[in-house]
């Protein structure tokens, strides 16, 4: 199976995966450099996980670049001098990327309000790079449109002004609506992929989805959408992909520091089909289409207040912390949940006991372990996940 990309370019799944893999593993951000070089005056804005309004960056003609640390391919030389040993790894590898000039290609950096680590990292950034644009994106924890909505609109207006200044392009409403439509499409196709994977996880293994999604960190959204579409066409064409009767699991806890690819492979080899996850949650933070009519800032505000993904850093006013996970298990016919959280991640690890309680109430099996983005030894995880996978399969057969 292959697909044709304009000008007679024929692409196979292997080609696509090679491309996605190299985009997601490239700690030199070559794709961003190349994108900038394609036209005079182009700029790029980096952002940490999870949610930032990428539509505003896009509408100003700049490229939004997701920064999720250095993964397992970056040697930390200077980063450790900035962080105590009991702090997660993503800030130290991100600092390392910056100090090794790999992030010089960025013209600004956004730090969303996800935890104290990212928050304080924003201050460190502004001290290390006093001449660069740094912005802490304070998302509201009050979901009343007249209160939290008003505050968030004001924050969005600040970003709109800042991006216009940085790019030299005023962001008018039409441009912003058009960018919203572009991201709606991207999120739509990602939702399609998640649905398709849940239906037939043997066709869309997590070990591939990982690269396909992660490529979205550095690609313009239109290109990423095209890549997702190609993948949705190409993967089912592989004739050797058959249902192997593995256990269906939901992965939770990976919304910020990303697991190494080896960890995902390990889970698959241990007999798991990943049918849902909170991997790179920022890409699909808004879970419904954002309105493309009317005032576009109001539309973004409404989407944030009413259609955001649930995550550990977001207040749950109704007190039902575990509902999203229970819903996901039901919707995806999962047989169990694997909590995989970064070591020292307060949000994920403090959330976990509440999620565990919710699962226990429903009798949903779960297991948990921690990782760092550069974890290289998977023997224990493989053993644990294998045992878990076997036990839940027995459980569902019984």
């Amino acid at each position: 199976m292959d697909v044709q990309r304009g000008a007679g370019d024929v692409v196979t799944l292997d080609d696509l995966m090679t491309q996605a893999r190299s985009l997601s593993e490239d700690i030199d951000f070559t794709a961003v450099t190349q994108w900038k070089a394609r036209a005079e005056g182009r700029k790029a804005i980096g952002h940490m996980p999870t949610y930032v309004p990428r539509e505003l960056i896009h509408a100003s003609g700049m490229l939004s670049v997701g920064i999720t640390g250095g993964g397992d391919r970056l040697e930390i030389i200077r980063g450790d001098a900035y962080f105590q040993s009991y702090i997660c790894r993503i800030p130290r590898s991100t600092i390392e990327l910056a100090l090794s000039h790999r992030l010089d290609v960025l013209d600004g950096m956004l730090f969303p309000s996800i935890c104290d680590v990212i928050r304080n990292l924003s201050g460190m950034w502004s001290m290390i790079f006093p001449d660069r644009y740094v912005h802490y994106v304070d998302v509201p924890q009050n979901f009343d449109v007249a209160v939290g909505g008003k505050f968030w609109r004001r924050e969005l207006e600040t970003l709109r002004t800042d991006f216009a200044r940085l790019s030299g392009v005023a962001i008018d409403d039409d441009a912003l609506r058009a960018s919203i439509a572009v991201y709606n499409e991207n999120r739509h196709v990602i939702r399609d992929l998640y649905r398709a994977r849940s239906e037939r996880p043997w066709i869309f293994p997590m070990s591939e989805v990982y690269y396909i999604l992660r490529a979205g960190n550095v690609l313009p959204p239109e290109e990423h959408t095209a890549m997702l579409r190609e993948y949705l066409v190409l993967a089912p064409g592989e004739s050797d992909r058959r249902d192997q009767d593995r256990s269906r699991v939901v992965l939770a806890g990976m919304f910020c520091e990303q697991p190494p690819h080896g960890l995902v492979l390990t889970l698959e080899r241990a007999g798991c089909y990943v049918v849902d996850d909170d991997f790179l949650l920022g890409l699909r933070w808004l879970q419904d289409d954002v309105t493309t009519t009317g005032d576009p800032l109001d539309a973004l505000v409404d989407a944030y207040l009413n259609h955001s993904a649930m995550s550990a850093s977001r207040y749950a006013p109704d007190g039902d912390r575990g509902r999203w996970l229970i819903d996901s298990v039901a919707r995806n016919r999962a047989e169990g949940v694997i909590f995989a959280a970064p070591s020292f991640c307060d949000p994920a690890l403090l959330d976990q006991p509440m999620l565990v309680t919710a699962l226990d109430r429903k009798g949903i099996p779960h297991t948990e372990f921690k990782y760092a983005e550069d974890t290289g030894q998977f023997a224990v995880i493989r053993e644990q996940a294998g045992t878990f996978s076997d036990s839940i399969r027995l459980w569902s057969e019984a």
């Binding site: 001098a81 900035y82 962080f83 105590q84 009991y86 702090i87 800030p91 309000s113 996800i114 935890c115 104290d116 680590v117 928050r119 304080n120 990292l121 924003s122 201050g123 460190m124 502004s126 001290m127 290390i128 912005h135 802490y136 304070d138 509201p140 924890q141 009050n142 009343d144 007249a146 209160v147 939290g148 008003k150 505050f151 004001r154 550990a312 850093s313 207040y315 749950a316 006013p317 007190g319 912390r321 070591s343 020292f344 991640c345 307060d346 949000p347 690890l349 403090l350 959330d351 976990q352 006991p353 509440m354 565990v356 309680t357 921690k370």
Partner: protein
Amino acid sequence: MSAVRKEDSMLLQKQMMSDHYDRLASAHDEGRKVVYTFVPGNLNELVRSFGLLPVLPEINALQSGLRKKSGEYIAEAEKNGHSEDVCTYVKCDIGMLKKGNIGPTGTQLPKPDLLLLSYTGCFTFLKWFELLREEYGDVPVAMLHVPYQANGRIEPHQRDYVVQQMRTEVIPKLEQVSGRAYDEDRLREMLRLSARAEDDLVWTLESAKRTPSPIDAYFGGVHYIGPIFSAFRGTQGAVDYYTALRAEVQERLDAGQGPVTPEGPMGTEKYRLVVEGPPNWTSFREFWKMFYDEGAVFVASTYTKVGGLYDRGFRHDPDHPLETLADYCLGCYTNLGLPTRVDLLEQYINDYNADGFLVNSVKSCNSFSVGQLMMLRQLEERTGVPGVFIENDLVDPRYFSAANIKNRIESYLQMLDQKRGKAA
């Protein structure tokens, strides 16, 4: 005379605390309602203006540390599925709850009638009260999201946001729980009392600019902030406490005396230090002794600003009751961007004529700790004053390594001596 006076303020505080916990123990029997909330950004005057009693879980946790109970409580929480990696204040509190919720004075703490989630300067607060909400069943929560001062200044829309939340979220819930209507005059009256106590607190903290300093602004400082950071801001009790404290310090100042330590008056002041970060509570006295034995006194600290940055001029303003509470919440130390924190420390080092500074980095607290290594380097560069970096924890005794810490402090102070020797 000074020893007697010292006891005055200490005893006063002790009495205030024990009365408060007694009132809490009988609160529900006597029909009084209880609000749990956090120290940074606490709305004590507002809560009390409704006749409600505040409980501050952080204070309970640190008290558990001082009473050597925290290790057991943390173990209990970990046994119940809480990760070893996360903030130990939370685990200490959850463990205490699981073990019967006996407060620092030996009486049982009442269940909350409302969790007032003042979300200021720390993301863990959110998880902490979500966990408590689960533990206590369907206790209502009032969420007050306080935006971060990344740029070190309060933007008008941030203030509006906080005030609006007070009007639409906090006050209605306080009304509901208390069965009373919001009484702004009462609130103003309490804010007036707050400002008076704040004046005396600032005077006390700033007395450390004198040489020798009459106070230790860290190990003594944590006592001085007790009433105002916890349940008493806005009460006559707090005003009286700070009047008494000021009189005592004035007396030591007049007599040219240094701080009073647990072992009596400190010897000659040899080193003046500034400190960033919270102290360790499980070995509090042992930690303090490492300094006073060497003649090292802390002249300024950032930890004593987590519940309000009064020494930079902020006072609760009765003429703008909700706005002033909003400014208070926004301005607490851990809600300030790192560059502002470095500026503040730099000013302390200069204004208090410090010889050195300590960064006491606690494992629990990402809010404080992330960036401290960089703060250390920045401060050394900017002031030319050398700093020392120590790692331990607030209430987890497993992370207080006495011998290592002592060694580190001793060699640091020796280094300061050598530096002085060279300068002389």
